[in-house]
Symmetry: C2
């Protein structure tokens, strides 16, 4: 029984991850309102009863997609950043990894579960919303702390740390609205250019152009 | 008859503007999905039949709110910018006016019809969506044209004009997600700080610090 569960688990998780990804794409395209559990079941290729085996309802699905998006942010951006002591290096890591994550969608629209986190919070139940807001706040705090350290080190421009943090987040998060994987610019180019604009707006030239 | 119409018009327009504003607030708070025509009628203080006198349905209301938001953007940002020949001055005008518009909401949440334009496009009918996308594109083109002129003048940093345009838009538009009129920072301070980050990221120091 135990063995069976262990064997079955990875497949179940893969299946869930696949459902979240596909559901996120549909919700991005149609909006949460216009998306039915039927649409998602059809796209995944299972019956409506089948999808309710994995997820109890549409609002729960949205919450799970957001948690899945936040898990990805944790793994790809937050955990690597926390391991870096130097605040400038940490900032560069945050920008590069977050931009890469946001431009890593597999559809031509570039949609991925990470962008859903920001766009459909109003549709969550109050209890779920609190949890997602808490996870997002932890990330904002990490960005803000990093900028505050840079300010203490004299490396940040003379700008308010909170405004700087949200301006940076806005710049990055907007990527999920405009970036297209099939567009003129390659993903790496876009990440590099956004990094240039962001660091140019935040860091003093002396910090940015050391040894150039 | 003609005179009556002329006299009645401003009141009708005021009433409509009021409905759009209140509906925009409710949609921002609850999401378009969860907002009913009844909620809006209640908040405006008219009957459900009364609101259908002004607006045929919820989807049409969303379209009208977005047009109303774009009208505000036209008047407050686009028209003044088009009147400015010098691209650097035009960029500064765009940033200041757009940031002021986005932070000018009358509720503690700072919500206003301008932010709806970006967040609920998926809920529009395809024909309406095309119209809103067209109006938004005209604005993006103005920003991009301004940055291209600055590049030609050697005032823009070595960044891709499209990435620069969308990074700037992301920075500004994110204001409607995080700025709170009752927060620590005054509206004018926030506008000034965002302007500093934006110009620091986009313009070469020589262009920014002339005569300082």
């Amino acid at each position: 029984m135990k063995l069976q569960k262990r064997q079955a688990r990875p497949n179940g998780e893969d299946r869930l991850a696949e459902i979240y990804k596909i559901a996120a794409q549909i919700i991005c395209e149609k909006g949460f309102d216009a998306t039915s559990m039927n649409d998602i079941a059809d796209a995944v290729g299972i019956t409506k009863a089948g999808i309710y085996h994995y997820i109890p309802g549409k609002k729960e699905l949205l919450f799970e997609i957001m948690n899945y998006g936040m898990d990805k942010l944790d793994r790809a951006v937050i955990a690597p950043a926390r391991a870096i002591t130097d605040p400038e290096e940490r900032l560069r890591s945050i920008i590069a990894n977050h931009c890469r994550l946001l431009t890593g969608g597999s559809t031509p629209q570039g949609h991925n579960p990470v962008s859903i986190v920001n766009d459909e919070v109003a549709a969550l139940t109050p209890a779920h919303r609190r949890k997602i807001v808490q996870r997002k706040r932890a990330y904002v705090d990490l960005v803000r702390k990093t900028l505050r350290q840079l300010k203490d080190d004299g490396k940040l421009k003379d700008v308010d740390v909170t405004v700087a943090a949200f301006s940076l987040l806005g710049m990055m998060l907007w990527l999920s609205r405009w970036f297209r994987p099939d567009g003129r610019l390659q993903r790496d180019q876009v990440v590099e250019e956004v990094t240039k604009v962001a660091l140019g707006g935040l860091l003093r030239p002396s910090a940015r152009f050391v040894a150039r």
